[in-house]
């Protein structure tokens, strides 16, 4: 069929050369218009980001002076130094990293196990449980978080990092689904050979499937880590000031000893805060987008 199209096109091109020239002109015009629209759109999208960046390089006084100037008179790189050294950014970021790591490790372990089971081990009720798991995705988080809050306060683990550990063990439907899709594509011979060798399903999983699942492991780990890193709601709900994470700190601003908000310093902190996410995105754009499209989640 494609060759037929080519033939038709070449036929048209041969008999009516003027049309071909028009066509080329049209294509160039189209290309130009597309570029114009895309560039304008991209600029509009990036202005807020640029404004964030230049604001992070201003002094507090410069920031509140009217009318605002776009570029700082003298870029205050010191803001970045100050937010790390004086405002102890790393202390709060360190807490987030700790919580996120705990969640990521348990979450990936739990989800890979479940995903493997849903993909490779036959058992009565498997389909029903699979549907149940996926439908759980439809329940809005807000409906379950309040009872969970009650549970955690009864367990006396509010204002600790334990809830993230428990959430990790509980796994999460999109990640389980991702693992399940991935493991389902493995050839059956792999298991048969392992079974002949007398491997238990756990050893098959651990020594054959998991080492071959590096890409999906990386993506799910990244998603899990990102979730904790970017989440504000659960942290603000369960933790208080003495356990504050970086997201909580950004929401209420860093303050000087007298309680005045250090605005531009906090903006610099926001820039540092989003950097790892941007780097991670650039490093693994393809896998991330694939994961998002498969599971339908962020």
């Amino acid at each position: 069929m494609i060759s037929a199209v080519n033939q038709v096109q070449s036929l048209v091109g041969r008999t009516r050369p003027s049309h071909a020239r028009n066509y080329r002109l049209l294509a160039a015009l189209r290309q130009f218009l597309l570029h114009a629209v895309l560039i304008a759109w991209a600029v509009i999208l990036m202005i807020p980001v640029a404004w964030l960046l230049v604001s992070s390089l201003k002094t507090n006084v410069e920031f509140i002076s009217y009318p605002p100037r776009f570029f700082p008179k003298l870029p205050q790189w010191k803001n970045y130094y100050d937010v790390i050294v004086v405002a102890k950014f790393l202390k709060y970021a360190g807490r987030t990293v700790w919580v996120a790591t705990m969640f990521t490790v348990t979450n990936v372990a739990s989800c890979s196990l479940s995903g493997y089971a849903f993909a490779r081990i036959k058992a009565p009720g498997r389909n029903a449980l699979f549907v149940l798991m996926l439908s759980a995705m439809m329940v809005p988080g807000i409906v379950t978080i309040i009872p969970q809050f009650v549970i955690y306060s009864r367990m006396k683990i509010v204002n600790t990092y334990w809830p993230w550990f428990l959430w990790g063990i509980a796994g999460s439907a999109p990640q389980i689904f991702l693992f399940r899709q991935f493991f389902a594509a493995f050839p059956v011979e792999l298991e048969d050979a392992a079974a002949v060798d007398g491997c238990t399903p756990f050893r098959t999983f651990w020594q054959i499937f998991l080492p071959n699942a590096r890409s999906v492991l990386a993506v799910t780990a990244l998603f899990a880590f990102q979730w904790v890193w970017g989440d504000y709601f659960n942290q603000a709900l369960l933790l208080t000031e003495d356990k504050a994470t970086v997201a909580m700190k950004l929401a209420t601003s860093f303050v000087d000893p007298r309680g005045n908000a250090l605005v531009t310093l906090t903006i610099a902190a926001v820039v540092i805060y989003v950097m790892p996410l941007i780097v991670a995105y650039f490093a693994s754009q393809k896998q991330i987008v694939q994961g998002i499209v498969t599971t339908g989640m962020k």
């Binding site: 069929m1 290309q31 629209v37 895309l38 759109w41 999208l45 202005i47 807020p48 980001v49 964030l52 604001s55 009217y66 009318p67 479940s114 493997y116 089971a117 849903f118 081990i121 036959k122 058992a123 009565p124 389909n127 449980l129 549907v131 995705m137 439809m138 329940v139 809005p140 988080g141 807000i142 409906v143 379950t144 309040i146 009872p147 969970q148 428990l166 959430w167 509980a170 796994g171 389980i176 999983f205 970017g230 504000y232 603000a236 709900l237 929401a251 209420t252 303050v255 309680g259 005045n260 908000a261 605005v263 903006i267 926001v270 805060y273 996410l277 941007i278 650039f282 498969t294 339908g296």
Partner: protein, 325 residues
């Protein structure tokens, strides 16, 4: 999106004919045990206990003092003017931002799947706002829209001196809509792009041979094939209707809110007092957990009914390939 298809497949599949010996099947249950326990404790348990609690006056701490109050909470909910206000605000923001968001992300996806130089760079730029976490997005938009220090007011003032709009206090919902469009369309764009790219090349060529113009090709070939993606987006946004909570709370603080006024305890301007904000306020400020649950279930029921209606319309406009497995 593969999720919906897999649910359908799993529902259609009959159980295996042969009996599976327990020594094999037990591994399945063993492997899914962590998820299973988590599901019972963190999803099913909360949902059931939430339903139960909505018929009590539970205050979040004292189980011994909780009393069964029948339908009282539900009756009160229907008389609660603030809840109605919040509900109307939810309808307003949904009616404005849902179609806008879907249209914008769809157009973006169409543009980004054209053959154009530098496509990869554009795709990356279009997605960057979606990478940013909520606290960062809110900071970005506070900086843009602040009454005194914001870039937008500065620009307006430069164009027409003397213009001064109190965005964060008088137009907070509009700010929220802009913020949502900026921060969330990248996500939907990715889905639409995936849908557009999965349109088989042969169909395009066939349309070309039949003499279809570019627009006709788009309208009668591409668009029908992308309707499942549009449907998925629609279902997900309808299901999550009224969940908007954290953005208005964070936006309420103003720049450098410091200790007071920001965080989850903030009260947004009246225009941004959405349904969930009201629920949150009743639960965590007045400790009316029972009442809060009644409000939650009413909204969830509403979302569910809307979703079912959307599902009902599917057969009129969503295109499914016959015999798709």
């Amino acid at each position: 999106m593969a999720v919906i298809r897999d649910i359908q497949v799993a529902l259609r599949e009959r159980g295996p004919k042969e009996r599976i010996p327990w020594r094999k099947a037990k591994w399945f249950y063993l492997f899914i045990l962590p998820w299973m326990v988590g599901f019972l404790v963190f999803t099913l348990g909360p949902v059931l206990s939430g339903i139960f609690m909505s018929f009590t006056n539970f205050d979040g701490m004292h189980f011994d003092k909780a009393r069964f109050v029948g339908l009282y909470n539900y009756v009160e909910a229907f008389k609660d003017e603030q809840a109605w206000w919040g509900f109307n605000r939810v309808l307003y923001i949904t009616v404005v931002s849902m179609p806008l968001g879907m249209a914008i992300s769809f157009i973006a996806a169409v543009l980004l799947t054209q053959r154009v130089r530098g496509r990869g760079v554009f795709r990356t730029i279009f997605y960057i706002p979606s990478i940013l976490p909520i606290t960062a997005v809110v900071w970005v938009w506070k900086l843009m829209m602040d009454n005194n220090y914001g870039l937008v007011n500065a620009a307006l003032d430069a164009v027409k001196p003397g213009t001064y709009l109190r965005w964060l206090t008088e137009y907070p919902t509009q700010v929220l809509i802009m913020m949502g469009l900026w921060g969330a369309t990248g996500q939907a764009t990715v889905y639409y792009m995936a849908g557009l790219q999965s349109v088989p090349k042969e169909l395009d060529d066939a349309a070309l041979i039949d003499g279809a113009t570019g627009w006709q090709k788009f309208r009668f070939v591409t668009l029908p094939l992308v309707t499942p993606v549009i449907f998925y987006q629609l279902v997900m946004s309808v299901l999550g209707i009224g969940q908007i909570l954290v953005q208005p709370l964070l936006l309420a603080g103003g720049i450098g809110g410091g200790g007071g006024g920001s965080g989850l305890g903030a009260i947004p301007p009246r225009d941004n007092y959405f349904y969930m904000v009201h629920v949150f306020n009743r639960v965590f400020t007045y400790f009316r957990f029972g009442y809060g649950f009644a409000l939650l279930w009413l909204l969830f029921a509403f979302a569910l009914v809307l979703t079912l209606i959307v599902f009902g319309t599917a057969r009129y406009w969503v295109y499914y390939e016959v015999g798709q497995e």
